[in-house]
């Protein structure tokens, strides 16, 4: 259950790039410990800019951000990266070491661990991410999915309280996505707060409980995912498409099948259709008699 005070508090935050583009306009947001949050919106809506403010990569032009009740204004990115781990879209922007093992060790370097602790942590994380077999391999020779895994592992090993993913499902196959989902579930169990930027509406619908919708640097909706991303007006404004289940729902209503609007999952839809067919067949057999 979320605690009373927010883990991340964003207060009236504006951000203007040097070229004059206003990327964030009066953003107010509260994120509680243990939440799983999705940030959605069209390209250029300000999603990535917003998450970059969480660990001080960019500083708000106006407003304040509090992490665990502390204003991050005077904190360095190095300090904040221990609390907020951001996994960016392109894993190739991270890898540079000679081996996979060294890549993980580089991430642990700034934590000032002993040599032994460092090795134990590296072994654990390599095992957890099934990268153990590639330990001696160059990160540049890994496949796209494995490089992504390595990039995630290099943030996970630092054990931050808040994990932020920028488009984690982009370019991933089904197996890689399911590995990522299991990873999120296990982190949620140990009380981590997870923020995911995604355009994958089906993924959000199935796994994310709260969604923040952004457009033109503003938050235009914040609430339960199922309600937010099935709202035709909001979805259109964010250049997204309705989830397949909602599209199917609309199609059923169009042909005269009165499908309730609060059906959000495959199971609910199957249940409704089974009941509907059963009722229909009863009526038909009644008419026949």
């Amino acid at each position: 259950m979320p605690q009373d005070y927010p883990l991340i508090l964003v207060n009236d935050v504006d951000y203007k790039y040097l070229n004059g583009t206003v990327a964030l306009k009066k953003i107010n947001l509260k994120i509680y410990k243990g939440e799983l949050i999705g940030i959605m919106g069209k390209n250029g809506a300000g999603k990535t800019t917003l998450i970059r403010t969480f660990n001080g990569l960019i500083r708000p032009t106006n407003g304040n951000i509090y992490i665990n009740g502390e204003n991050i204004k005077s904190k360095t990115t190095g300090t904040l990266s221990r609390k907020v781990g951001i996994i960016f879209q392109n894993p190739e922007h991270q890898v540079f070491s000679n081996t996979v093992e060294e890549e993980i060790k580089y991430s642990l370097k700034s934590l000032n661990l002993s040599k032994q602790e460092n090795q134990i942590k590296t072994n654990d994380i390599l095992k957890k991410f099934n990268l153990d077999k590639y330990r001696e391999r160059s990160p540049l020779n890994l496949s796209g999915g494995e490089t992504k895994k390595l990039a995630v592992a290099s943030i996970f090993c630092r054990d931050p309280d808040i994990l932020v993913f920028d488009e984690p499902t982009l370019g991933q196959d089904a197996k890689e996505i399911s590995f990522f989902i299991e990873l999120i579930k296990s982190e949620m169990k140990i009380g981590k707060t997870i923020i995911i930027i995604t355009h994958n509406i089906e993924f959000a619908m199935e796994y994310i409980s709260r969604t923040i919708l952004m457009a033109d640097g503003k938050i235009i909706a914040d609430g339960p995912t199922k309600k937010v991303i099935t709202n035709e007006f909001l979805v259109k404004k964010s250049a997204l498409i309705l989830p397949q289940i909602s599209q199917f729902n609309i199609a059923l209503n169009d042909i005269g099948i009165p499908c309730p609007h609060n059906i959000y999952s495959k199971n609910e839809m199957t249940e409704f259709l089974a009941g509907y067919i059963k009722n229909k067949s009863k009526i038909v057999s009644g008419e026949g008699n």
Partner: protein
């Protein structure tokens, strides 16, 4: 640290006198001003050359962009002040700052007002073979892209505890590896992708190619070229006539600054 200032060298489409000038005339402008700046080490002539650039900035409606390019290089300016003041004099440091500002401004005006395609066309008209001209314009076009990529790499590394500031020269060099290795690898990969994309669009299949757009040296370009020639002759004359600038000229300027 932000690399956003590199965007100040990115072409911006506007309809102004400077934008409408022929790219060759603007290339000549940048070269003439840079050479003129290199000819002097005294504050007053450098300051006059600098002042003569201001109308170009105003005519090109690019004050903001120009300010950004200058501001982005403030670190370099600081280094010039510190090193020159320490080893030579403050007056010399001021002259060097004006000199570098002239060169940055001249090339900033060029890059801000010349479309990469026009740059390629102007090189071709100077008999540079098309593949080389195209490569040059492509490199020029990719500067902001590489700047963005470098910024993303920096963000990604900082998110896992990379510290920008380290003490000691060797540590500082070592500290560049997490930024340079991914940047070089991503750039090489992009170069291969661009090469494949070009080949799949039949790049280089015909030796003699035609151009949809052409550039033409008009009356205003000739007028501008005439001005540049006069300006260049004048700077050479001043340089030769005065030889070494009298000491008081540099000092007078320094007194004015103080």
């Amino acid at each position: 640290m932000s690399l956003e200032f590199l965007n100040a060298f990115k072409f911006q489409k506007k309809n102004t006198f400077v934008h409408n000038l022929d790219p060759r005339a603007k290339l000549m402008f940048s070269i003439v001003y840079s050479i003129s700046a290199l000819m002097f080490t005294e504050i007053i002539p450098l300051f006059i050359i600098f002042l003569s650039l201001i109308p170009m900035i105003l005519l090109g409606k690019m004050i903001k962009e120009w300010m950004r390019s200058i501001r982005g290089l403030s670190f370099l300016v600081l280094m010039i002040i510190v090193l020159n003041t320490f080893f030579i004099s403050l007056g010399y440091a001021m002259a060097m700052i004006i000199r570098i500002s002239i060169m940055i401004t001249a090339f900033s005006i060029f890059f801000l007002t010349v479309h990469p395609n026009d740059l390629a066309l102007s090189l071709i008209s100077m008999k540079v073979p098309y593949p080389y001209a195209f490569s040059f314009s492509l490199a020029f076009r990719f500067v902001p892209t590489i700047a963005n990529e470098a910024q993303n790499i920096m963000d990604a590394q900082q998110s896992r505890g990379y510290e920008m500031k380290t003490s000691g020269l060797i540590n500082q060099i070592k500290n560049l590896f997490p930024l340079l290795v991914p940047l070089i690898i991503c750039s090489i990969k992009r170069a291969f992708n661009v090469a494949e994309a070009l080949e799949s669009r039949a790049f280089g299949s015909v030796n003699e190619r035609t151009y949809y757009y052409t550039i033409k040296y008009t009356f205003k370009d000739w007028l501008f070229t005439f001005y540049l020639i006069c300006f260049f002759i004048l700077t050479i004359y001043v340089r030769i006539q005065f030889g070494l600038m009298p000491e008081w000229l540099a000092w007078l300027a320094w007194e004015m600054v103080v």
